[in-house]
Amino acid sequence: MSIDQSTAAKVAKLARIKVEEDALPALAEEFNTILGFIEQLNEVDVDGVEPMTSVTPQRLARRADVVTDGNQQEKVLTNAPDAREGFFAVPKVVE
């Protein structure tokens, strides 16, 4: 499996990371190096093996479905790069 520039561009888009056009060939090459290394996994016989979901044999802990927190609007917004009138502000999303 070889990654070309258009695939690299697609992955960057999916990851929401802006990659300039002239950086795409080097990025594609890096992907190919890493994926080439990962290809070794194809040597392993994994027939009938369950994919691991939890490294320790445990169920995720559950709690009662009740409100345990809240009323911290100011704290929640403290670190926001742009907070206005009690909201996170972002560029216009809907035309």
Binding site: I3, A8, V11, A12, L14, A15, R16, I17, K18, V19, L27, E30, F31, T33, I34, L35, F37, I38, E39, Q40, L41, N42, E43, V44, V46, V49, E50, P51, M52, T53, S54, V55, T56, Q58, L60, A61, R63, Q72, K75, V76, T78, N79, A80, P81, D82, F88, V90, P91, K92, V93
Partner: protein, 495 residues
């Protein structure tokens, strides 16, 4: 009393309890050492006022006879831990200026036990790296140098600042985190002790997430006894982490008897890799002899899927990272790119993440995105998770056959020079973690103990791997190894 910063946790605790020093004196000694060690770039956010305030409070507790083991002991905290009101940016520009409104469970537990935070420690960005060279703060520098040249060396990574600070006596101990070897490799590179406990022992709540199924916090210290003391304070059940284990935490220090007679120590043949330096092979043989002389039975074992651990890790860790790091979008915290007229929300995301993430983080987020994308999920991600099951089963089989612990080298080499790996492809850097990464994939406890020096005077470490939840027994075996090795070397001060 001078040089209080050179003490370990156990010795300092004993002096405090005898009233022969105070937490304020210990803290001031460390703060002076930190001020004089700017060249190491280990402490990246210093909190001297907060430290002295906590030291005074600890002295009050000590005077009142209410003194848990960590009470009054000055430590450093890796920048990955969220600390209330104190910069916590995971060594990333995307979290520049982030001051959490909350405290991570582990750092809170240490604080509750009376430990004194001196500041935040350098690391690889988002803990992704093995040399501390991907940090937004710049490289952390090892206090160690080769005997024959002045090349600045890496303290290892990702917990590079923690390792440098402990090795240079800027603090008595430090917290680290370990996703693929990030506690044990820097410990080996700096002649310090580092333990990654069983997955689920330390709460992950409030620690900036890298790969949630692999991340664990642990202590980095000057001795195995110190590791036992600090680990006990860090461990414990936390309802805020859904993978936290609801198990009692033993008194690890009380388990350090040094008696390992009859213990079965496995030597995995797959860890004898091609091109392993003769010094590392000798270190490993010497360590094996030490444990044998201490009365342990040495058993050759096989962990057949070892060679697939690195490639499995480089699917699973980036996949989880790409998901975890999706939260850095310029909306709720940290950096937001300045936008051009007409830019919408997608441009804001893309520019913010391109500006905020460094090259290695971008690379891993994109690899993770790729292996999780439609059409490749089964071929890469699910296959890697199946291989992970097999890697864990390798360990389960040897433990079921009666092995108590496994001895391996911690790293395939001594510390390398900063910049020396710049021309290597990313996979070459990943090979640093070849001996440690299996332990994260299997969720096991692992500890690195310094046991020797290479020909150029640089420290080397051996790793012991234990059974799940058996940190006490593992620490005791490490203690026996530490006593036999008698490692006492310290870096000569140049900074």
């Amino acid at each position: 009393m001078s040089d209080l910063n050179k003490l370990g946790l156990a010795d300092a605790r004993d002096l405090l309890r005898k009233g022969e020093t105070t937490s304020v004196e210990l803290t001031e000694s460390c703060l002076s050492a930190i001020d004089a060690a700017g060249a190491l770039n280990a402490f990246v956010h210093r909190t001297p006022e907060l430290a002295l305030e906590r030291a005074r409070a600890a002295d009050t507790r000590l005077a009142a006879g209410d003194a848990p083991a960590m009470c009054g002991l000055p430590i450093g905290i890796k920048d990955l831990f969220c600390t209330k009101g104190v910069d916590s940016q995971a060594a990333s520009n995307i979290l520049k200026g982030f001051k959490p409104e909350y405290e991570s469970t582990v750092s809170q537990q240490l604080q509750d036990a009376g430990a004194v935070m001196l500041g935040k420690l350098n690391m690889d960005e988002f803990a992704m790296g093995s040399s501390n060279e991907s940090s937004a703060y710049g490289d952390a520098i090892s206090p160690w140098r080769r005997s024959d040249d002045d090349t600045p060396l890496t303290p290892g990574g990702s917990s590079g600042g923690s390792a440098a600070a402990v090795a240079a006596d800027l603090c008595l101990a430090a917290t680290g985190t370990d996703t693929g070897g990030s506690i044990r490799q820097p410990a080996a590179f700096t002649g310090t002790v580092g333990i990654k406990p069983t997955y689920g022992r330390c709460s992950r709540w409030g620690i900036v997430a890298f790969a949630s199924s692999l991340d664990q916090a642990g202590p980095m210290t000057k001795s195995v006894r110190d590791a036992a003391i600090m680990l006990e304070a860090m461990c414990g059940y936390d309802a805020k982490d859904s993978t936290s284990a609801n198990l009692a935490v033993p008194n690890f220090e009380a388990m350090l008897t040094g008696d390992i007679k009859g213990k079965k120590i496995g030597i995995p043949r797959e860890y004898s890799i091609d091109g392993m330096p003769a010094e590392i092979s000798k270190l490993w043989r010497d360590g094996t002899e030490m444990l044998k002389s201490a009365g342990a039975d040495i058993v050759d074992i096989s962990l057949p899927h070892t060679k697939y651990a690195l490639p499995a890790y480089y699917v699973i860790a980036p996949a989880e990272a790409s998901s975890n790091l999706a939260r850095y979008d310029g909306v709720r915290f940290g950096h937001r790119a300045s936008l051009d007229a007409g830019d919408g929300i997608t441009e804001m995301y893309e520019k913010t993440r391109a500006e905020g993430f460094g090259a290695e983080v971008q690379r891993r987020v994109m690899v993770g995105t790729y292996v999780l994308s439609a059409g490749f999920y089964d071929a890469y991600y699910n296959r890697a998770r199946k291989v992970r099951t097999l890697i864990k089963k390798d360990f389960e089989d040897v433990f079921a056959a009666g092995i108590d612990a496994i001895l391996t080298p911690t790293t395939p080499s001594a510390a390398f020079g900063l910049g020396e790996m710049n021309d290597a492809d990313p996979v070459q850097m990943y090979l640093n973690d070849v001996f440690t990464i299996t332990v994260n994939l299997a969720g096991l406890p692992g500890i690195s103990v310094p046991t020797g020096l290479d020909a150029k005077g640089l420290p080397l470490g051996l790793q012991l791997i234990g059974k799940p939840w058996d940190e006490g027994d593992l620490l005791n075996t490490a203690y026996a190894l530490e006593q036999s090795a008698g490692f006492v070397a310290k870096p000569a001060r140049w900074w």
